[in-house]
Symmetry: C2
Subunit: 190 residues, 2 copies
């Protein structure tokens, strides 16, 4: 990024492409994630991504993996490893990075079998799975149900918040402060 002199061999094209992709994503939404738009933004030819990522899905998968890593970091940075705090970190990440978060779960655009992506998403999931449950599970299925319950609620809330559909639930306009209160209240509901 500091070196703008145009040379045939870019030097660090992969990260430059991912940067461009992310800028376009948060700027113009997920519909702007075209391969040609990304390479155009990066100042290279339309097929320059091929040697590094193979195809568009490869670029988006790499970007999604970055997203999962950042999500993991956000959840790991919480002081209290409680459902409430980790859930809030999860949802705050989604609200702060709506395009990226959407991409991370758009399975017809990314390739979940990519090793990097698979590792990154598993690590993020384990942050939620390792939460201490208030009532000890009576069976493996019950344990799975507890994890699914937490996962689903947090993930569902994040999606509703991004889509602006929580607005429909409140009489007043939903300011950021009110949204935070709503999230906290919702996560407190056992």
């Amino acid at each position: 990024m500091t070196e703008t002199k145009p040379r045939y061999h870019h030097g660090d094209l992969p990260s430059t492409l991912l940067h461009s992709a992310r800028v376009l994503l948060e700027q113009d939404g997920i519909a702007a994630l075209k391969l040609r738009a990304i390479t155009r933004h990066a100042g290279v030819s339309a097929t320059a991504a091929t040697p590094h990522f193979g195809n568009l899905s490869g670029v988006l998968s790499a970007l999604a993996a970055i997203g999962f890593n950042e999500l993991t970091a956000a959840m790991s940075n919480t002081t209290h490893k409680t459902m409430r705090d980790i859930g809030l970190a999860y949802i705050r990440f989604a609200i702060a990075n709506p395009g990226l978060f959407t991409l991370m779960f758009r399975n017809d655009s990314i390739d979940r079998t990519t090793p990097d992506l698979q590792n990154a998403s598993e690590k993020a999931l384990s942050c939620l799975a390792d939460l201490p449950s208030d009532t000890p599970p009576s069976s493996p299925l019950d344990k799975a149900a507890q994890m699914a319950s937490a996962w689903a609620k947090v993930h569902g809330l994040a999606i509703l918040a991004i889509d602006g559909q929580l607005q429909a639930l409140t009489p007043q306009p939903l300011t950021p402060i009110l949204l935070e209160k709503l999230l906290a209240n919702t996560l407190s509901i056992k």
Copy 2:
């Protein structure tokens, strides 16, 4: 559908196009929802949808509206108007119509301001909102939090189920019977 004689004026092209779109959707996934593919499947020219739906977004929005109406019907057909039964109906619909359900919440492909779609989605949401809460809400925000909690959990579960990510939570392979048990258990968690 009973009349296959090809005539210049199709007669019932809108519903035929929506039918084709739905077939392609459940057959080849949401990525197959191209305007040209839909019209090709319906046996008409590539731009035949224009007078009826305007553009691709119009077709997909109409299809999404159908989805919301069917979802509403599924939730209305439950005998017990409980969180558990209505939630199960919601999730079962999603599992039975994964492509359609995904489309219904893909806001960069559909146009939520379409009147039909807006009405249909509001009706579906009200089915969840009108659930009796076990503890009376202490404030409007608390009421919103209760609704968000139910909405989020059910919606999150549906998405996780569709994406096959509940598999990651269980040690054994997730048979349909086991999935039903897991869903019931998860929804019972208060």
